[in-house]
Symmetry: C2
Subunit: 435 residues, 2 copies
């Protein structure tokens, strides 16, 4: 009785098992959990040109090309942890107190200091987002997600019957949020706003004043924020990362983060939720809810928990600087090489590991849409970029900036050839268009 | 639209956010996800006798007392994996092909051979159970779970609005399933039977013929089985473990397992689902559903995946033998020490790490129920056993058998004192009772 309270039971869609034959169907949760990237990519015909080695600018895994590796220090931290024999048993489902304490001081900044009790360790940032969305929203309610945005938010929410509504980012404004449109999207059933800064796929890093403006919208409408800060501090020279929670003492925030990107260990699966309560708005209920949900899988490996202290306090600063320098160099290189190309509008990122490139589709009349554009770039040039559609944003493609420089150069060169081959100038199209 | 299909939206229970003040409540999923053990234990008054050091026979973590440790071999397997630098990136959400291949050959037995494609790696067996229950059952449907049984099944199902119905185990019959009652529980909305063998909390290990009888019930009614075999091969001399899937070519089975118990590393979080399809009953849909669900958190650390091959193939057999020998010695010791006690009915286990002890409550008229009995044993003797209620089974308590022998002896001695002090013989009660 407790269990079915809000999900009333609809005969139409629940599979009535006939009990007279084997017909084991998948649940709605399973059927509604879909990954837009996978769905889009699987629908594409990707046949590289056999004469050119494939360059995948599509994979959001910074370690895959071998040029970016975690620091020795953190590898040895794990070795020490596992050899200590102190981290074999069950930890509390939210993580060891000591490990949570270390994360608390790592994420604490003036204006947003937290303690061990405010941290929930998770199996990667994905799990942190899963718990955060699940604890705040009921089926039938909605969360607001950015467009373009990381598709996992939809995967997680829609599986559970939580709706997603988009708020728009403005490419011409460094991908800032369209604040009016954001506010207009909020309704009585809005359970949370998901804000991703620095952003995948945009590479944008928001200024303090823009973040303040977003917080004001949230505050005026009493909507809590899920801040996806998995790219925290991953910003290029001249930009600054502001943890969202440091800018408000009014809006309750669940910040999701982890080791994945900054430490270059996506496979290890160490993430966390930081509960930034304000005016006790989240109250005991949401904390207790997170605690309960964490018990479903007890999800963060103790080996990593045992290594956290050394990882978070002893990784040399040069390690981060060197990663960022490489990605920044790549960003400038790609931006420069693609900027001059006909029909391309690369948007220089300020952080994270990606760049969005706009395509003036009207200048490529051969292709019906951006999917075909990207497909054909694979067929002819063996360069694969994720179509904007993966991020609910057509007429763009995303490139990753973590590839080795030579490959990036070669890829941009091939993109250039492709554009030149297929671009049709506005005059030739018989009409005037603004480029 | 896809998302809310089967969970129609009920205004009554979804929190209408007023949008005029901060009132952030937890979702139904969070509120309905509760851990019976925690709920029961938190309701108890546990104040140990300050003159006696506490002995916790309650904790299902075999590593906690330090007498049982993982083998050196597997620690070094992790060291090798992490130092190789080959396992830093994202694995596919179901796990690396190589790691799944190794698990496939580890779990394959005659009658139930599987391949890499049949394996889904998870963050512990809890996560494997979560995915298995989630993929098979919709809100409003039910799964059948054992009584007494491991409470996580209820935690996982009821959070999602999936109901649990109990089937009874018969203590007098080595905790065999009451087959008639099991069959009577199956209805049109039964999505799966959860079978746990060897069992927590019973320590029972089912014979081939009993497993066959259970399979027949499932087959007759076309109900798939989720086989929780996290204690696989953890059986005492004279008993044999039969993987359920090896006994049927008719009933589709999702077997949940992992390294947790046999390898003594509960904190590491490495588990798996083995898909045993039969007559393609699970079909593509359930496989695809598991694949989709695995993308929610990409849950199994690559460091462990990289170590799996060495762990599964090179752990010396003596390691397992030695663990089982210690637990078996403890089982016999505890059974012997508790058998003679007035009002106690210890039931000798055949495997796993636990023993259930029946309490003839009518002979302890001081106590209203088993909770009070257990509470008072803490107050007077500083011995804490989990009350049967944690497993939906009153008038029993569960002791863990992984404690060091001396502590177990001392605990049994204190239990003996406690019983003698509080036992009231049937005659003294003024009525005849069968002991
Ligand atoms: C914006 C964003 N959030 C979350 C994640 C997931 O991180 P994790 O691998 O720690 O689950 C990613 C991974 O690409 C991401 O880009
Ligand atoms: C019967 C049973 N199933 C599953 C589990 C969970 O195992 P894991 O720690 O791998 O999630 C346990 C743990 O105690 C158990 O006793």
């Amino acid at each position: 009785m407790r269990a079915v309270s809000s999900r009333c039971f609809s005969f139409a869609s629940v599979n009535m098992k006939s009990r007279r034959s084997w017909s084991v169907t998948a649940s709605d949760l399973a059927r509604n959990t879909f990954n837009p990237i996978r769905t889009v990519v699987e629908s594409m015909k990707l046949t590289p040109n056999p004469e050119k080695p494939m360059i995948a600018l599509s994979i959001g895994d910074p370690t895959i090309f071998g040029n970016l590796c975690p620091s020795e220090e953190i590898v040895e931290a794990v070795v020490e942890s596992v050899r200590s024999m102190k981290y074999n048993g069950y930890a509390p489902s939210t993580g060891y107190e000591d490990a949570r304490k270390v994360v608390a001081s790592y994420v604490s900044v003036p204006g947003a200091t937290v303690e061990a009790k405010d941290i929930i360790l998770c199996s990667g940032c994905s799990c942190a987002l899963d718990l955060s969305i699940s604890v705040l929203a009921n089926p039938g309610q909605n969360i607001l997600v950015p467009r373009p945005g990381f598709p996992l938010y939809r995967t997680l929410a829609e599986g559970l019957g939580i709706r997603t509504k988009f708020y728009d980012l403005k490419p011409e404004n460094g991908w800032e949020v369209d604040l009016e449109q954001l506010e207009a999207q909020i309704d009585d059933q809005t359970a949370a706003i998901v804000l991703n800064n620095p952003s995948n796929p945009c590479g944008s890093v928001y200024s303090r004043s823009h973040l303040n403006a977003i917080l004001q919208v949230a505050a005026r409408n009493f909507v809590p924020i899920i801040a996806d800060e998995i790219y925290d501090y991953f910003v290029f020279p001249g930009h600054e990362f502001h943890p969202l929670a440091s800018l408000t003492n009014e809006v309750p925030i669940l910040t999701c983060g982890g080791l994945t990107k900054r430490y270059l260990i996506p496979g290890w699966r160490m993430g966390w939720i930081v509960v930034h309560d304000r005016n006790e708005a989240l109250s005991l209920e949401v904390r207790k809810g997170l605690q309960s949900l964490s018990q479903r899988i007890i999800g963060s490996s103790t080996i990593l928990q045992g290594a956290l202290s050394r990882i978070l306090t002893q990784t040399p600063p040069e390690f981060f600087q060197s990663t960022i320098a490489q990605v920044y160099d790549n960003a400038r290189l790609a931006h420069q090489l693609l900027s001059g190309l006909p029909g391309m509008r690369p948007i220089m990122p300020s952080g994270a590991m990606y760049m969005m490139v706009g395509v003036d589709m009207s200048n490529f009349p051969e292709f019906e849409n951006d999917l075909q554009f990207v497909e054909r770039m694979v067929t002819e040039e063996s360069v694969f970029c994720l179509p904007g559609r993966c991020f609910d944003y057509p007429n763009y493609f995303r490139i990753v900036l973590t590839v080795p420089e030579l490959q990036l150069r070669e890829a941009c060169h091939r993109i250039s050839q492709f554009c030149t081959a297929h671009y049709v100038a506005p005059l030739a199209l018989g009409k005037e268009e603004k480029l």
